[in-house]
């Protein structure tokens, strides 16, 4: 177990390093975007003078690397800075809400919570469904059942997300009004209400991620069916279902876990389109708005969260793969 802790420690350190590298790439990419925050916020009321003042206020007048390191230094201490868009610029343009300063963290926290909620609901449906479908497809391989499952999951992954979303809205909200088509959730809602409104986007995401996980489960298991220990189990008179669940599945876990982790990461980072279709207030929407407004601190923080989600989920997958392998769990 000591060696496992060491591996986790190493991976965490490496993951952290990756995050720093990613932050730099993000910074360069964001700053390479055409357009300018001051122009975006002032719109028609833009003057050279007002623009310069805004740029000076948010620090855009300083050189690249100074801005990067001061941002990085603050981010390392947990301070992701202040959202440009939430700052008050009324003095320069004569417009705006004047709602005062909002830190990026304060803006992100509720959105992040919502995204995680959606991802959790989707994962709770998608992971068991795809594993069970994968097992059944392996058990009844090359039968009608196997083909139907394959065709269905492949078609759903091959269609654009918004298309799947609208089909679901049509079926479950318009023709059969079972679920609300808008997912505008807010604080203070009851859990049941929240779940009810989250279900449609969660189902859409399920349709999108199921195929990958289900096909990997099927392939990983079928791959093992020619091994001598599976033949041995069959020759012991074990039923086909038990052969697959007890003898093949435990040995197929490592690749399955990796694909599951990849798809979970997608549930957090790849939901932009689904959030927009259902007007779900998650990180994806915030991210799109921030890019539109050239709100650099928010874009950077979102990207860091996405990168962090990938790194953490991959780390979890590695650790679970090790735990699923008795050779690594119990060395000689």
């Amino acid at each position: 177990m000591g060696s496992l802790l060491r591996i986790v420690g190493q991976r965490l350190a490496l993951g952290f390093l990756t995050l720093v590298v990613v932050s730099f790439v993000i910074f360069v990419a964001v700053n390479a975007m055409p357009g300018d925050f001051a122009q975006a916020i002032l719109g028609q009321g833009y003057t050279e003078e007002a623009g310069d003042a805004i740029r000076k206020e948010v620090g855009l007048d300083k050189p690249y690397f100074v801005r990067y390191f001061s941002w990085l230094g603050a981010a390392l201490q947990g301070d992701f800075g202040t959202s440009f868009a939430q700052a008050s610029f009324t003095a320069y343009a004569g417009t705006g809400t004047g709602s005062g300063l909002g830190t990026v963290a304060a803006q992100l926290a509720p959105r992040f919570e919502n995204t995680m909620f959606l991802a959790t609901v989707a994962a709770t449906i998608a992971v068991p469904v795809s594993l069970v479908l994968g097992l059944l497809a392996a058990l009844y391989r090359n039968t009608i059942f196997d083909r139907v499952v394959n065709i269905f999951t492949l078609s759903s992954i091959s269609s654009p997300e918004f298309f799947m979303a609208y089909i679901l809205i049509l079926l479950l909200a318009v023709l059969n009004p079972l679920l609300p088509s808008l997912s505008n959730i807010f604080d203070g809602m009851s859990f049941a209400d929240r779940l009810n409104r989250t279900l449609l986007p969660a189902l859409t995401l399920t349709l999108i991620v199921t195929a990958h996980m289900m096909r990997m489960t099927r392939a990983a298991i079928i791959n093992l069916l020619a091994s001598p220990y599976i033949e041995m189990a069959r020759l012991k008179g074990i039923s086909p279902m038990r052969v697959i669940v007890v003898h093949a599945l435990p040995n197929a876990l490592a690749p399955i876990i990796n694909v599951v982790a990849l798809n979970l990461a997608y549930l957090i980072t790849g939901v932009v389109v689904v959030e927009v279709v259902f007007v779900y207030p998650g990180i994806g929407q915030l991210f799109v708005d921030a890019v539109k407004n050239r709100d650099i601190p928010v874009v950077q923080a979102c990207c860091l969260i996405f990168a962090g989600a990938y790194i953490l989920l991959n780390l979890t997958a590695d650790v679970m793969s090790i735990l699923s392998n008795p050779r690594l769990r119990h060395p000689k």
Binding site: S227, Y229, G237, H247, P250, N251
Partner: protein
Amino acid sequence: MIKIRDIHLEGRSDESWIPIINGIDLDLKRGEVLGLIGESGAGKSTLGLAAMGFARDGVRISKGSVEFDGIDLVNAPAAVKRGLLGKRIAYVAQSAAASFNPAHKIIDQHTEAPVQHGVMSTKESQEDGMELYERLRLPNPTEIGFRYPHQVSGGQLQRAMTAMAMSCRPDLIIFDEPTTALDVTTQIEVLASIRDIVEQFNTAAIYITHDLAVVAQMADRIKVLLKGDEVEEADTRTMLSSPKEEYTKSLWAVRSFQRPAKPAINTGATPIVSVKNVTAAYGKMPVLFDVDFDIHAGRTVAVVGESGSGKSTAARCITGLLPPINGHIEFEGEAMPLDYRRRNKDQLRQAQMIYQMADTALNPRKTIGEIIGRPVQFYMGFTGAEKRKRVDALLEQIELEPSTYFNRLPSELSGGQKQRVGIARALAAEPKFIICDEVTSALDQLVAEGILKLLADLQDNLGLSYMFITHDLATVKSISDEVVVMKDGRVVEQGPKAEMFQPPHHPYTDLLLSSVPEMDPDWLTDLLKARGVDNIGDAAVGKM
């Protein structure tokens, strides 16, 4: 009890079905052991599995009947067959290491069949398992089952698998080459255990093997197969003393191949290769300790030992693939750079290798001409027509027709032919010295004999020296001039062959030599008597 009539099996190859077994009859009475013998591709395993009413994926029973205790296994529904498999008919596979599920503890796999078939409760079956482990003389019988397969040695696993087959006290067990993957000393323990337990429970068995001496110890009757046809069947003693068919006789004769002894080495001659006090390690794990031996011009030095004894590591040190920590390697009296990267082309040329698995040692995407042509060009600098001429000459030397084989891929060759190509590739560098690493252990006896004869002829014609790594003492007897016995990374004993096969021996050499099965059906019984039955268990512990 089991009655097979005119059984035909076919295997799928691309779009057509190719016959594997062509109409064989087989009868087995309760408590009887039948030996099935033949070379690879003879259909032994397929027939053994068919006796369970089972055909692997891509194989089908096309004709004939299999009756077990009056039940028709060919046409029985799957559920009925499942009720018999594991419970009344059990199977022991060739490689226990591959046939135990790596994800579960041994005891859990042991109890699975009895519990699933409703024969015993988990607890009863566990206790029964421990009792069987004890009878099979496994160390720590109460504890060993709670380990995972990878934590137990190959010989122990093979016995645990026999125990697993016994878990429901079946009427019939199919043993499919259960000792082929084991070292000789381990093989004896497993053979003795299997024979004991089969006798104790009066279980009928079909014992599949390619090793005649082994089948002689185990079987009451022997059936010889060749390419899916039965050659002959007789009880063991009759079969051994007076085989009727030519093919059976040729199988029996393989073991008699023997090279004439060569004169003693001149004292003071400089050896071709000299391994001087070599100590080597993989990472921090030391594997060779102070190994020291010479190989003289035109001679074959057999390096003998069980798996893990350091034979192949010694070869890696000589070729420079694994630079030793201590000691050095001399070629014709000159010290060689230890790391192959620091040797020049001429030094590299001196030591060539032939590998055990010709399958994996030849690039499957290159033609035979390219495979042999590469070293011809690299070491000798031949190109164009000159290169072609040289490759043709090499192909002729290994007795393959150049015009037929030059453009073939390795997958179009048989195992023996592939090994010949491996030899030609080594010869292409025109070395004085070749390392042969278990070159015959993956081959059938007749094919192996052909390879040994070829190597011997090449030695006579070209004056080559061989370092012949093997665990098979019969091969040592037939081809070697000098013998080096290794155990646990050390040289235990070395000397000329004649001396090595005459007592007195080092105790380990003695153990190795006496463990080689002989064709005498009483050999195992006599040996066990001589060693004392308890000693077998001790030998097992000593080996682990």
